[in-house]
């Protein structure tokens, strides 16, 4: 079975009398170790879909299996356990914890989500900070580093637990062109190295073609699937 299986997935928001169908019977499958992007205009349902994949929200109908778990059934606590075990998150606004240093931010999931022994923790954090090129900034606080550096730290934080899937909702929206490309490049590098599945959403034409599999969302529906580089590309480099 694929790592992610979505079948007839729908999500309807009802605010008062008004109902918004954010996702309409969406079906797709995502294999392990793939680099997938959902693109589409504003309000097309990208964030809604990523929230469902992350077990942060529940679908209105349809089925969704992520890493073998039916995420439509998770309550608050079990959702947290599921995310801590299988997922990493990268946010548009970086969302580093301001009172924690770069090092501590990366360490957080190992310390307060899981309970990794301290020696292993130190080794993993150091290695990841090194591989995202932030080894020299470990002692700095988030407000002392640039946006691109913050997102590198966020990538390290998402990967430190070695999750099966990393979800990133518009990870480059707040970055300039060069930095955006560098962050996406870093994500793909990590995917190649660790075999992590990355799923990111964007409407940024600069990074669209970096994905191996590209789903086009429009008005809550998948209207196209492309493989701009294809799996062959990843194996070639």
């Amino acid at each position: 079975m694929s790592l992610i299986v979505a079948k007839d997935l729908s999500k309807t928001y009802s605010t008062g009398a008004a109902k918004v169908e954010a996702l309409k019977q969406v079906s797709f499958e995502i294999e392990a170790a793939s680099f997938v992007s959902f693109i589409g205009p504003s309000a097309s349902g990208k964030t809604t879909l990523l929230n469902l994949l992350g077990g942060l929200d529940r679908p209105t109908s349809g089925s969704l299996t992520v890493a073998g778990e039916d995420v439509s059934l998770l309550d608050r606590r079990r959702g947290a356990i599921f995310r801590g075990a299988h997922l990493g998150f990268i946010f548009q606004d970086f969302n580093l914890i301001p009172v924690l240093t770069v090092y501590e931010n990366v360490e957080y999931p190992l310390l307060l989500v899981r309970t990794t022994p301290s020696a292993e923790r130190a080794a993993r954090v150091a290695k990841l900070l090194e591989s995202v090129g932030m080894g020299d900034e470990a002692g700095k606080y988030p407000d002392q580093i640039s946006g691109g550096q913050k997102q590198r730290v966020a990538v390290a934080r998402a990967l430190v637990t070695e999750p099966a899937i990393v979800l990133a909702d518009e990870p480059t929206a707040n970055l300039d062109t060069a930095t955006a490309a560098a962050v996406i490049g870093l994500m793909r590098q990590m995917k190649d190295r660790l075999g992590t599945t990355f799923i990111f959403s964007t409407h940024d034409p600069r990074v669209v073609n970096e994905a191996e599999v590209l789903y086009n969302l429009e008005d809550g529906r998948i209207v196209g699937r492309r493989e701009p580089r294809g799996r062959a590309y990843a194996q070639a480099v």
């Binding site: 801590g84 914890i97 307060l112």
Partner: protein
């Protein structure tokens, strides 16, 4: 766990001004409680001591019904020698009882051969009486600080009114239980400065003189005053003694004796209770201050950090851990205020003590107030404040732990 404390403290430091403000508010409340408690406690202790240590003793035992008719000093309600022995046996079995002093009390006429007035006589064994009410000797002005046979100690107002001095010859006249009137010639052995309270007509004579005046074949005792080792344990002694004496019943099945603590006898017990009540009110105010300010700060903290809460929840932090994070922050804030307030409060009390403030109470002048803060008091106040801080942060923390990560993350 250590990391949770670190995060809490850094978050408190992040909002330095707010933390200092709230911490100071808590500290001021604690200072008020500590300083008031120490000063009022010292005042109360002194006030009680002035009367109990000079007149009453810590506890007194009488025949049942004596205290109700104490204004008449009824000789008919005296304790027989046999009953006195029973009480003494009980007293000797209670280790907390330090001393006791039997007294013969009677109403009498006091005459300087020109004028006559009524007085209340206390026949005592001087040594035991002084041990039981240790402030009594210090009240004797003029004359020797003792009570000799053939002498009488009279209150200063009476001495002035009757124009007698130390050494003057006086006569006391009393009626005994059989109705015979007897007189006894005495010399004024000393003048008593009034103790605080209604003791303006209390004179002291030697026990043997009282016995002679009343023509007692066998010594009868009106009351037994008791001094305990630790004033704080009066109620324990009271309970023990009451239990021990309860077995003594009369023909009608009613208890023979009655035991009272100073509180039941002192005219100041209501003032003492008022001071205690005030202290409770100040503590209640402190609890309210801590509850409201900590809850307010923690609600603000939760509101400011909605996105952070969403982030850590999305990463898989369990709701219980998010709850703990905020509770620990409130706890730390309470501890901060407590440490500052406790330290400053103790310093203030020490300064007050060092300044040796004096005050006059009733007709006693120049009493030095010596407030102390005990570790126990500090611990109780600190415990209350920290506990209330935790309780106050529970609701905001619960709110944080129940947030939907999607909504929290969407929050601007």
């Amino acid at each position: 766990m250590r990391k949770l404390f670190e995060i809490a403290i850094r978050n408190l430091v992040r909002n330095r001004r707010r933390t200092i403000l709230t911490g100071s508010l808590i500290a001021v409340g604690i200072i008020a409680v500590v300083v008031f408690g120490a000063v009022a406690g010292a005042f109360k202790g002194m006030m009680i001591a002035q009367f109990t240590d000079a007149v009453l003793g810590d506890l007194e035992v009488h025949r049942r019904g004596y205290v109700a008719s104490i204004d008449n000093l009824p000789l008919t309600l005296n304790l027989s020698a046999q009953q006195v022995t029973a009480v003494e046996r009980a007293l000797q079995s209670i280790p907390e009882v330090e001393v006791y002093s039997p007294r013969v009390k009677l109403g009498a006429m006091f005459s300087n051969y020109l004028e006559t007035t009524s007085i209340r006589l206390n026949g005592v064994d001087p040594e035991r009486e002084f041990a039981t009410v240790p402030l009594l000797p210090s009240r004797i002005k003029g004359g020797a600080q003792t009570i000799r046979k053939g002498e009488i100690l009279i209150p200063d107002l009476l001495a002035q009114g009757m124009k007698v001095k130390v050494g003057s010859a006086v006569v006391v006249i009393a009626t005994n239980q059989d109705g015979s009137v007897n007189a006894l010639q005495l010399a004024v052995g000393g003048v008593l400065v009034s103790a605080a309270g209604p003791s303006g007509r209390d004179a002291y004579i030697h026990m043997d003189d009282a016995r002679e005046l009343l023509r007692m074949e066998e010594l009868e005792i009106s009351e037994i005053a008791i001094g305990v080792r630790e004033p704080g344990r009066v109620n324990e002694v009271y309970a023990q003694l009451t239990r021990l004496l309860a077995s003594q019943v009369d023909a009608g099945g009613k208890p023979v004796f009655e035991v009272h603590t100073w509180e039941g006898l002192s005219p100041f017990s209501s003032i003492a209770r008022m001071i205690d009540l005030l202290a409770v009110f100040i503590k209640v105010a402190l609890v309210a201050i801590v509850l409201i300010s900590v809850m307010n700060v923690m609600l603000m903290a939760v509101y400011e950090r909605i996105r952070e809460i969403g982030t850590i929840a999305a990463m898989g932090t369990l709701p219980g851990k998010i709850l703990a994070m905020f509770v620990i922050e409130g706890f730390s804030l309470g501890v901060f205020g407590t440490v500052v307030g406790g330290a400053l409060g103790s310093v203030i009390v020490l300064l007050v003590r060092a300044a040796r403030p004096t005050f006059d109470f009733a007709r006693v002048e120049g009493l030095v107030l010596a407030p102390v803060v005990t570790a126990g008091d500090l611990l109780v106040v600190s415990g209350i404040v920290v506990l209330v801080s935790v309780l106050a942060s529970l609701q905001p923390a619960f709110k944080a732990s129940r947030m939907e990560p999607v909504e929290a993350l969407r929050h601007a």
